[in-house]
Symmetry: C2
Subunit: 348 residues, 2 copies
Amino acid sequence: MIEDKNQSRTDLSNLGEFALIEHLTKQFKINHKSTIKGIGDDAAVLDFKDKKVVVTTDLLVEGVHFDLSYMPLKHLGYKAVMVNLSDVYAMNAEATQITVSIAVSNRFPLEALEEIYAGIETAANLYNIDVVGGDTTSSTKGLLISVTALGEVSNTDVVYRSGAKPNDLLVVSGDLGAAYMGLQVLEREKEVYKVNPNSQPDLEPYTYIIERQLKPEARKDIVKLLKDLEVKPTSMIDISDGLSSEIIHLCTNSKVGCDLYENKIPLDPQVISTCEEFNIDSTTVALNGGEDYELLFTISQEDFPKIKANPNLSVIGYITEVSAGMHLVTRAETKIELKAQGWKNFNA
Amino acid sequence: MIEDKNQSRTDLSNLGEFALIEHLTKQFKINHKSTIKGIGDDAAVLDFKDKKVVVTTDLLVEGVHFDLSYMPLKHLGYKAVMVNLSDVYAMNAEATQITVSIAVSNRFPLEALEEIYAGIETAANLYNIDVVGGDTTSSTKGLLISVTALGEVSNTDVVYRSGAKPNDLLVVSGDLGAAYMGLQVLEREKEVYKVNPNSQPDLEPYTYIIERQLKPEARKDIVKLLKDLEVKPTSMIDISDGLSSEIIHLCTNSKVGCDLYENKIPLDPQVISTCEEFNIDSTTVALNGGEDYELLFTISQEDFPKIKANPNLSVIGYITEVSAGMHLVTRAETKIELKAQGWKNFNA
C-alpha cells in the first residue's frame, strides 16, 4: 500500500485547494486548437467549429474498480483516462480534452496525488489530450477518480451503436479476456502475500495479461486504421464489460440478431495457458471478463477485403435478422443464446 | 437519515447497471438542438455549430460537502447541478447539457437514487438542461456525485476572470453569507437532535438562509439580465468559496487591485439577525462563508447607469492599479488587506 512506503510525505492539509490544483496541473500543456482556455477560469472554453462534440464520463472507485495493494497510483491515473478515451474512440471520434476530478482521503500524501497525475499526464501526452479542468477534494474514505472526456468528429464519420444491418460482419480489435485473467493472477498473489509477505512471486509468465489489467490502452490506432483503410463501421461499441454484454448492446440498439463463432474469438496464448492453470473456460472469460477496452464493430461485407489481412482485427461473426436472436455458435457447432453477465459491481 | 425511514426499499443489487441507468434516466427529455444523441451510446454527441463550448466539473462528497442528516437527497441532486451551472453562467454562457456520475454504497436503496435523480430532473427542467450521460456505480462507503456541465457562448459574449481594468466597478448579484449561516443553523439543530430526538425546532426565523444552503439557485437570470441591459462584464466569476477569495481570483487573473467597501456588501436581514444570534461578524461571513453561488463581476463605469436601479445588483467597490493592492475599506474607513480564507476542506 502506498502509505506504508518509506518515502517523502507532504500532508494535503498543508496546501490550500488552489495551490494544490496549481501544483498538480501546472505541467500540463495545451496542444489542441480547439482548446481556447484550459484550467484557470470558472470553466474551460473550447471551439470545435463545424465538428460535432462527443462527451463521456466514467467513475473509478477504490475497492470497487481498483485495489491499491496491486494497482500502482500512476497506472490508476493512466487507466482512468483510458477508460474514457475508449468510449470516445467507440464513436469513431478523435479524443481532444479531458477533465479530471479526484476525491481523496487525508491518508494520502501529496506525493500520492502527484503519482496519479503523472499517470494522467503520461496518458494525455501519448494520446494527445488536453487536460482542461477538474476538481480535487477530500473524501472521508478512499480514493475516487471521475474523468470526463471530450472528442470531435465530423458529421459523416460519427458511428453509433445502432447502425448494424443483417449480413454485416462482426469484428473485434486485439484479443479478449486478458485483463480479466490478469486480475485473477493479481488477486491470487495478493492472497499469497497475506500469508507470506516475503514471497517473491514469479510473474514472468503473466506479463502480458497483468499489463492488460494494470495499463490498458484505448484503441486510438484502430480509429486511425479504419480511416486509412476507408472503412466506416456501420456500428461500434467499446468492450468494457465483456464481449457478450457489448454484442447484446449493439444488436439491441441496431434491432438485429447475430451469430458469434466461438472458434473465431481472438485469445492470447497467455490467456489460454492461464485459463488452463486456473481451470476456467477461456470462452467464458472472453465473453464475460470485461476491461479489455477493445473495439467491437460491424462492417458491410463489401469492406471485408480491406480488413481481412490485418492482424489487429478479427471477424468473429455476422449480423442476422432480429427474429433470429443472438447466439454463440460453439466449437461443437451447437447454438447457445448469448447472455450478458458482465457487470456485477452492485452484487459485490 | 434516509436509511432509517420506514419506506419502500429496493436493493440496488436486484438491478443490473444497465437496468438501473435506464430506470433512473428514462424520464429525461432532450430540449436542445445541440443535443444530437443523449444517453444510450458510448458517448453523447453534441453540435454547437459556431458557438464556443464551455465545460466545468464539480464533485460533491458525503461528509465533506454535505451531511445527509439534514440534506434531503432531492435537494442534494438539485444542488449538485446548481454548483456546476453557476460556473457556466460565470462565463456569461448558456448552460445546455450535463453528465451525472454517482457512486453510492449498498446501504442506499434504489428509492434513494430515485430521490437524487428527481432533484436533478427538477433542476434540469427549470434551467433547461439536457442530461446526456453519466455513470452509476457502487462505493465502499458513502455517496458521491460528480457533475460535468457544458454550455455554449458566442465569441463576443464570453467573459473571463482576466478582463478587469482599473476604474471598473465591482458588482455582485443578490446577497451574501446566507448559505453559510443556514449551515450554522442546521449544524446547531443537528446537535440539539442528538441530545433530544423529540425536539421540534422552530426554523421559521431561518427559512431564507436554510433554503440558500439546501437549495441554492445558479444565477441564469443575471446572465439574461445583463444581456437585456446590453452590459458585457469585463470579468466575471461565481462566488462559491466566499467573496474575499473570489475577488482575489478576479484581481490576480486580471492583474489589478481593488477597493471593496464593507458598507456596500449586500446582506439579507436574516443573515444580520442570525449573525447577531450566533455572535459572528456578518462581514466575515460574507467574505469567507462560501456557497452563495452569486455572480461577481466588473463593468466599465460607463455602464453604471444601466445597472444602478436594479435591485438584483450591488456595486461593492472598484478596481485599482495592481500596485495599489486589494483592500477592504471598513465602515470606520480604515483599509485592511483582503485575504482568502474560504476553502478549508483539506484541513478538516
